[in-house]
Symmetry: C2
Subunit: 471 residues, 2 copies
Amino acid sequence: MSARYDIDGLVSRLDGIKTETNPALVKQKSRDFYWYSPTLKRQLDEVSGDVVVSPKSRDEVVRTLEVAFALGIPVTPRGTGTGNYGQAMPLSGGIVLDLSLFNAVTEIHHGRVVAEPGAVVAAMDKTTRADSRQEIRLHPSTYHTASIGGFIAGGSGGVGSIRWGGLRDAGNIISLEVVTMEASPRVLTLTGDDLHKVSHAYGTNGIITKVEMPLTPAYAWVDVIHGFDTLREATEFANSAGEQDGLLLKELAVVAAPVPHDHFKRHRKYLPREKHLVLAMVADFALTPYLAFAARHRGSELLFRNDTLAPEDAKGLPPVFELAWNHTTLRALRDDPTITYLQVLYPFPNQVELVTRIHERFGDELPAHLEFVKFDGKVTCFGLPLVRFTSEERLDEIMAIHEEMGAPIFNPHRYTLEEGGMKQTDEVQLAFKREADPQGLLNPGKMIAWEDPSYDYRSGKTFLFRGLAEA
Amino acid sequence: MSARYDIDGLVSRLDGIKTETNPALVKQKSRDFYWYSPTLKRQLDEVSGDVVVSPKSRDEVVRTLEVAFALGIPVTPRGTGTGNYGQAMPLSGGIVLDLSLFNAVTEIHHGRVVAEPGAVVAAMDKTTRADSRQEIRLHPSTYHTASIGGFIAGGSGGVGSIRWGGLRDAGNIISLEVVTMEASPRVLTLTGDDLHKVSHAYGTNGIITKVEMPLTPAYAWVDVIHGFDTLREATEFANSAGEQDGLLLKELAVVAAPVPHDHFKRHRKYLPREKHLVLAMVADFALTPYLAFAARHRGSELLFRNDTLAPEDAKGLPPVFELAWNHTTLRALRDDPTITYLQVLYPFPNQVELVTRIHERFGDELPAHLEFVKFDGKVTCFGLPLVRFTSEERLDEIMAIHEEMGAPIFNPHRYTLEEGGMKQTDEVQLAFKREADPQGLLNPGKMIAWEDPSYDYRSGKTFLFRGLAEA
């Protein structure tokens, strides 16, 4: 691809900023967890940038964008590459803007933290915990590797969403500093509704250079697992546990049998194969009421709590959040490469009924995995069901059946914002891209509304980005 | 009344424990805010104990109960007497057990506090804030005067309920230590579901001698008031603000025009008479998103925020929570003694519609006052509407119309647990009373199921306790 762009000119003009052009290393930094999806794997396997640029400060970001703009080289920003949809994969080649070295925690206050975009969430928490026993409200299951900027640009929620909702919800991001892709890049600070311009925009319309996030107390969280004989009972328990306003939980998920026994290897001895699980993270001081609440719930059996384990049993056990969200998928996929997954919303107030009906219909082709969250002030659940994959056609059919039955799909087998998300143009993000990236150089191919305004992405077809088609 | 009981014998056997028999002082300590209700005022105005006993430790409580049991003298416990239903008024005379001197904060941990029952909530918060910037989750509007034990025994929720639900919700009380009323009083520690035995039982079945409560961060809370042209708009705004899972609020209320202008005197200059208000307490770091959220809401006008006031304007202004819950009632009542109030639940999901219909029906006879809360995992509102009182018959009629329209009433004009609450026997509390107070000496007259098991308190009549009838 490098024939297309003046990479040598770029590298020389970025003197003093770390760059990398070794093709193997560049390709490594051009990937994320897109291979969770057989569809994305087929489409994106050959994608690579031409150069990795690793700025360590806002000034270095500004300089990089200025030179890239002058040379007409696309820039695809990336944190640590833990996304699942090819969000940070450079479809038109060019620059992979690796922000992982731009990662300091710069301010800690009572209730909020300011950090650079490449800060890894676990490292931020370590710092804020040591400072004042505080931690980030929300994080992905890739807590130990994901960057905060990448989470904001490419994620939507995760661990903590049972308490705080998602990143889109007012108050879960306080402010973002963003650099534009113009001849003279501007530095903007966004707050309030303006945050929607760049959060979950895959870096298509600005580079996040500073984040200000709310903090919440870093309690001692206890991992607790209950087992149930039926998915219905597990779902009902999780739903009502989520509705206990006084019980401080950080994570609440259901994983259907036999997935936990088959794929949660280090926990296996605690997990009978026929049991459907409810995984929870409970504040230590809320453990007694949580266990009392569970004990009076029909059919619940306490299978595991990590606060009373002998040290030799605790050793090497991953935290429960690394059995949840996309780590559930990851663990199954590692054992069985034919497994993939979906992303489903079961809307309030019919979530329990809908989960039951859908999973009765699909049986073992679609083992249930539910993540309970707050959504518009109510408790409901997202699904990340595993799919025993047979063909892309059958995958599409399974998704269509979900939508027919009333459960919207956020398709994890698409690399565009629209197809993976709300299936409509985000006018706010599009307008901001016109302003902040007039040449369309930021993360090309991810925003259909920019690339091909006339494209009907509800046609049932899959958008194929020109740049990708050419490659 | 003292002819009935051997008060002299009691006082001499309690040597070393503070007692008071001066009738004027005893009468003062025999009262609460029962006079909010014209009905209770008529019924309870003459109620008085015979002696006030003020233990300062658990041992002194145990000794008092032991002697009282031996002499057959009733014991009515009380914190600081900030209840509204005569909960702590000694209907059979005898001992007023004043726990206000038994008030130390004994332990502070990350996420929880242990205290003696007489500790005033504001004093506890002062201690936990200084120790580790933590505070109690829930408190009544009588924050500066109410004791924690009295709140647990006689209250149900309040400031903080928009985030945590009510005291009845699992996790909002961690443990309680209780002393029984037997020949040899036992000391019991209750956790989990057992907490329901004595919380909100008015001290009828045990004396709380230690409380363990969860703590939450003591952020800098900002008072914010928005105005709206219609009650409907104010209600809709409050409801949707309550459903913003990421916005950290501690209080969220609606007070209809013209109550705020007429009765919130120190805030009057900020409050146009025709505006319906939404009162909120917002964490400082959530202020920008809260104001952005409000700004995009139809018809909202920012009337007041206390974080940008000049010092001379801030001076003497009460906090917004002292305009809310029963302080709304108190402020109106002080100006106009013909005003009283109700307690209403507008059940989810019809709360906005129900509020609108009910208040359209009653107009200015019933100025709206709504307190938004989490209730079984959803946002809804309680009402503490003011009532321009004409007669007890009309008051009953207004309540009956509420119930017909689908809004259950928690009658604040009754002194019994059943009539003021769920209108059914609490079998758990009754069973525990049989065990912990076999002679029925604790707070006589408040639990109908104990006093007169055959009484039909759904008959529409008012229960009149024999002891009170005799007096």
